[in-house]
């Protein structure tokens, strides 16, 4: 089975967010980047699928040279091949999805894994868009899955419960935390990953559909009221919630 995994390279969760000179995108100074946490679950599920059904796992990322670091991490976990769709411009979700869908077609992918969301722009868009562009079914926010007779049987998280979804292959599966326990790369994996080549391709240009006009920090909250330091403050707290905030 030809298995493709989409991996994004994102600022780590501790990163300080400050707009750069353009006022629209993050100033990368002092920011560490990492493999998008949900995509780590996607890589793990792809490796498990390869183990069960045979085949190969290719990891794909769209971005600049820096994304190679994330591709190497996925190679170290055990992916067979890595491809960088090289474009350092800030594409919108549709631009990213178009390039990834073109790649999946050219490669002949039979299943695609991705994350439920990137933790930078938090669109939760790219996976669904790729599926629609390919005319494939998709399942997002997946916490459990198996493949049976050409169908993905997946459990996805919804408000107050789970949905059991059947999606016929080829399909796009988007991982949520809980799907699996991602493995740590072994030392041998890390050494091998250094030697594996990363193929570079130039994706076709796509016109943007969404424009970011400003990146701001949310207005700072005025300092909260420390009502007290022990149980004697409970009455005052409840009074404030009732009379001032009017939430109870």
């Amino acid at each position: 089975m030809k298995i493709a995994v989409f991996v994004n390279h994102v600022p780590d969760t501790e990163a300080k967010v400050k707009a750069g000179a353009d006022g629209r995108s993050i100033d990368p100074a002092g920011v560490n980047f990492m493999l998008n946490p949900y995509d780590e679950f996607a890589v793990e599920e792809a490796l498990r699928t390869r183990q069960a059904l045979g085949g190969e796992v290719v990891v794909v990322s769209l971005g600049g040279d820096a994304n190679k670091e994330t591709l190497r991490k996925a190679l170290a976990m055990g992916a067979d091949k890595a491809v960088l769709l090289k474009d350092a411009s800030a594409r919108d979700s549709f631009g990213v999805a178009s390039a990834l869908a073109d790649f999946a077609k050219e490669y002949g992918a039979e299943i695609i894994f991705g994350g439920k969301q990137s933790i930078d722009y938090e669109g939760a868009q790219v996976g669904g868009m790729v599926a629609e562009l390919l005319g494939w079914p998709s399942v997002s926010v997946v916490v459990k899955m198996e493949i049976k007779d050409g169908t993905v049987i997946a459990e996805r998280e919804i408000e107050g419960g789970h949905e059991i979804v059947h999606a016929t292959l080829p399909a796009v599966v988007l991982a949520q935390k809980g799907l699996n326990e991602p493995r740590y790369p072994s030392l041998k994996g890390i050494m091998d990953a250094k030697r594996k080549p990363i193929e570079e391709k130039t994706p076709a240009p796509v016109e943007a559909r969404v424009q970011v006009t400003a990146l701001r920090n949310p207005p700072a909250k005025p300092p909260g009221k420390i009502v007290g330091t022990d149980a004697s403050a409970a009455a005052e707290l409840v009074r404030l919630l009732h009379e001032e905030a009017k939430v109870i």
Partner: protein, 320 residues
Amino acid sequence: MKILAFAEQRNGQFKKTAFETVAAAASLGGEVTALVIGGTAAAIAPQLGGYGAANVIAAEDPAVELYSATAYAKIIAETAEAAGADVVLLPASAMGKDVAPRVAVKLQAGLAADCTALTAAGGVLTASRPVYGGKGVVDVVVTTPRKVFTLRPNVFTAGAPSGAAASVERRAVSLQPSDLSSAVKEVKQSGGKKDVSEADVVVSGGRGLKGPEHFAMLEELAGLLGGAVGASRAVVDSGWRPHDEQVGQTGKTVSPSLYIAVGISGAVQHLAGMSSSKYIVAVNKDKDAPIFSVADYGIAGDAFEVLPAVTAEVKKLLGK
């Protein structure tokens, strides 16, 4: 401007987000058509008039009683085309987030997801949405002729319904088997408990609670306030609480009216999931814990003393 608002229903009942989505559409001005999909959609459709929908289209078919990404996307996009909609609004719920990217591609429209504000000024729609776990906010403009937005639940208020009526049109659904290539076969409800992402009050606990047995305190308070119990990742990873209660970057995003964080330090990844709550209360014995930087009210004390006292005061207030 013509707007199509997708009104989500499950089990023949509208989700709260259905009213929020229709009301947000009405607040932009212009002509609002609402769409309900399901086996018995027409029965509940008239309710949407009170929130500002002039017309409601009820797409009824047993095949779409349960959600299907592929079929719902087709119905929503076809309805938008037929209504000549320039704008499609959906909730950023599990369903809305799943279907919106497909609808946008079908309509060759740009999509702005999980918006917390949407304003129309001088014919330009500008959306704001949180990014980087709430540490940033971007303003975005969709540049395509047709535009799709998903709205964060609990942020756009629906208000009380007016007495206005809507005209309801039942529309037959024509689906090929291939349109159902992705379909929900079964919904497993987690024991009827309220979901953190839908509750108006969330009482969350962290590692400061010392063990799973102490969550009974939170359950009691949440129960009194008609709310839900949430948890930090530390607690979920320790197996004290199920993952569907986790709030934060790798859990759920919540925007209740009241969020009470008990024994939670307030790591950035936790704040990512709850900082858009309207009022935040922190109970933590460390007065320097970062949770106090986002809290409106705090008690810097021991949860095991403070929480039972708060619960007792709430009981007094509610006359219980």
